[in-house]
Each structure stands twice: as C-alpha cells, then as structure tokens.
C-alpha cells in the first residue's frame, strides 16, 4: 500500500518537475535565439520566423529528450538507497 502511494505521488511530483524543466529549457532557448537574431539579423528572414525555426529544430533535437532523465534518476537513487540500507 505504501509502495503504491509512493509510486503514484512520486510519478505526479516527477511529472510536475519534468514539465517545468522542459518549459524552462525551451524558454531559455527561445531567448537565446532572439538575442542571436538581434545581434546579426538574417536578411531574408523575419525575427519571428528565425525564432520559430530555431525552436522547432530544438524540439526535434535530442536535448529535450534528456529531460526525461527526471523519471530515471530519482528511482535509480531510491533503488540504490534500498540496496545500501538493506544489504547485510
């Protein structure tokens, strides 16, 4: 029972962390793209087009998928703690 509760609430908590990190990471990327365009504008592209293109290629890249490690690392730490505490 305690295990089920831990898994359910842990999953919800990690989901919240996952969502906020991915929103944060995308926002930082968007800001960087805007600054990049402001520094040297590209002739045949509006600022908005440039930023949307950059965000799209960010979404398709491997980096945002790394944020899913949020669901891997804490359970791995829990497993390690269980082993260390209960092994004789």
């Amino acid at each position: 029972m305690g295990f089920v509760r831990l898994v359910v609430f842990g999953f919800i908590g990690l989901g919240v962390i996952y969502l906020s990190i991915s929103v944060y990471s995308r926002s930082v990327r968007r800001e960087k793209l805007e600054e990049q365009y402001d520094e040297n504008p590209i002739a045949n592209m509006t600022r908005r087009e440039f930023v949307e293109n950059g965000v799209k290629s960010y979404n398709n890249s491997f980096r945002p998928k790394l944020i899913a490690l949020v669901f891997v690392i804490p359970p791995a730490i829990v497993a390690a703690i269980i082993y260390v505490i209960n092994a004789n």
């Binding site: 305690g2 831990l6 906020s20 944060y24 926002s27 800001e31 703690i81 004789n88």
Partner: protein, 232 residues
C-alpha cells in the same frame, strides 16, 4: 520592515536546520551493550516521532519496538569533532518502509540481530567492541523519543572517523537545486509574468484614456446647454 525580514529569515533557517538535523543520517561511535524489545504505547504527540509497523505487518494502536542500548562517544559540532567523554544512548530500530523519512529500511529484525552480535564481541577483540551506528532523529527523554538506527557495523576503534559523504552530496544537490529553481522563477517572471503585467497595464491605460475621452465629449455636449459663464 527590514528587521521583520531578518527575523523571518532566522526563523526559516532554524526550522530548516532542525528539520535537516532530524532527518539526515548521523554516525555515532558506540559500544553496544544490549538489545531488547519493548511494548510501546504512543502518546498523542510523540507518535509523530515514531515510524510505523514493520512494512509487512498490520497497523495497530501500539506495538513492540526494538531498542538498542549503547555507550556512545560524545562529540562536538554535529559529530565533526571527537571528545573523550562517553554517555549512554538508546536507539529505536523500526522499519521506515516506503513512508517518511525516505530511508527505505525494511530490515529492522536483521539489524537487531547484527546489533546483538556486535554487542557480544569481547573488549579485547580486534578494534575493541566498538561499532558505528548510522541513525537519524533525536533523543529527547521527556518526550520519550529515540533516534532510529538504520545501520550498524563494526568500527576500527574508539577513534573511528566517518566522513558524512551522503550529507555532503545532499547539501551540494540542495544548493544546486535552489539556484536552479531560482533561475526558473526568474525566467518565468522575465518572459511571462512581466510582459503580461505590462500589457495589462497598457490596456488599463487605454481604457482610462477612452473613459476620459467619452467624459470630455459628454462634458462638451452638456456645455452647449449651459450659459457661457457656467461652463466647465
């Protein structure tokens, strides 16, 4: 206002500090003298300082709890500086199971057996009969609360030193996490909240300007009915 903020920070620091001091593991160098089981009836308050029944067992009002009695080396500064004095210490030995605090301890019976075995060593054996007890919690006699032992192992001697690696990594992670959350919050404010407030302020300005304009029109029309001296 500034004094209030300082007081608030000090109180927050004390609460967080005592919380972490209660929950994080400490290492005591002890000579285990005896282990025993005692039926424990919890009071309304001190039940918060106990864990729960063995993780496979039924929930009851009261239960038997393992206790470990020991002579402990006293220390200064949360165990960082050794002292010559010794005093007695009593540890409870309960499963924390899947619940708080997250030690995930299920082996209280095994731990009791280990402690009993360590208690039987001769003082003349290698390293004496000293042990290291990893535990969390406080011993407060007038509330009848005891620290919970999570691990026992033989020590090299009375001067055995333990480096608190877990606590070191924990606090590093905590500081990194704090700055990360702060960066996220600042990004959210800069990119989402402030522009929203700006545009809300802008819209408010427009509304006020519109109202003023309409009032002006109304006033001009009213003035057509007033005599020249009476106009506003």
């Amino acid at each position: 206002m500034r004094r209030l903020r300082i007081i608030f920070r000090v109180v927050l620091f004390l609460i967080l500090g005592s919380f972490f001091h209660y929950v994080l593991p400490q290492h005591d160098v002890v000579q285990i003298t005896q282990v025993e089981t005692k039926r424990t009836d919890f009071g309304g308050f001190n039940k918060w300082f106990y864990a729960q029944q063995d993780s496979g067992s039924a929930v009851m009002e009261n239960r038997d709890i393992f206790y470990i009695y020991a002579d402990r080396k006293k220390t200064f500064l949360f165990g960082l500086i050794a002292r010559d004095a010794t005093g007695v210490m009593v540890y409870r030995n309960e499963d924390t199971g899947w619940i708080w605090p997250p030690y995930f301890k299920f082996d209280s019976s095994n731990l009791q057996a280990e402690a009993a075995s360590l208690a039987r060593r001769e003082a003349t054996s290698e390293g004496g009969n000293w042990s290291v007890v990893t535990n969390y919690g406080w011993r407060i006699p007038f509330l009848s609360i005891f620290p919970n032992a999570v691990d026992v192992k033989p020590a090299t001697g009375p001067d055995h030193q333990v480096t608190p690696w877990f606590n070191i990594f924990f606090f590093i992670a905590l500081i990194i996490g704090f700055f990360f959350v702060r960066a996220m919050w600042m990004q959210l404010r800069e990119r989402s909240v402030d522009p929203m407030l700006d545009s809300a302020g802008h819209r408010l300005d427009e509304v006020q300007a519109g109202v003023a304009e309409r009032q002006g029109r109304m006033r001009r029309w009213m003035n057509t009915w007033r005599s020249k001296d009476n106009q506003r």
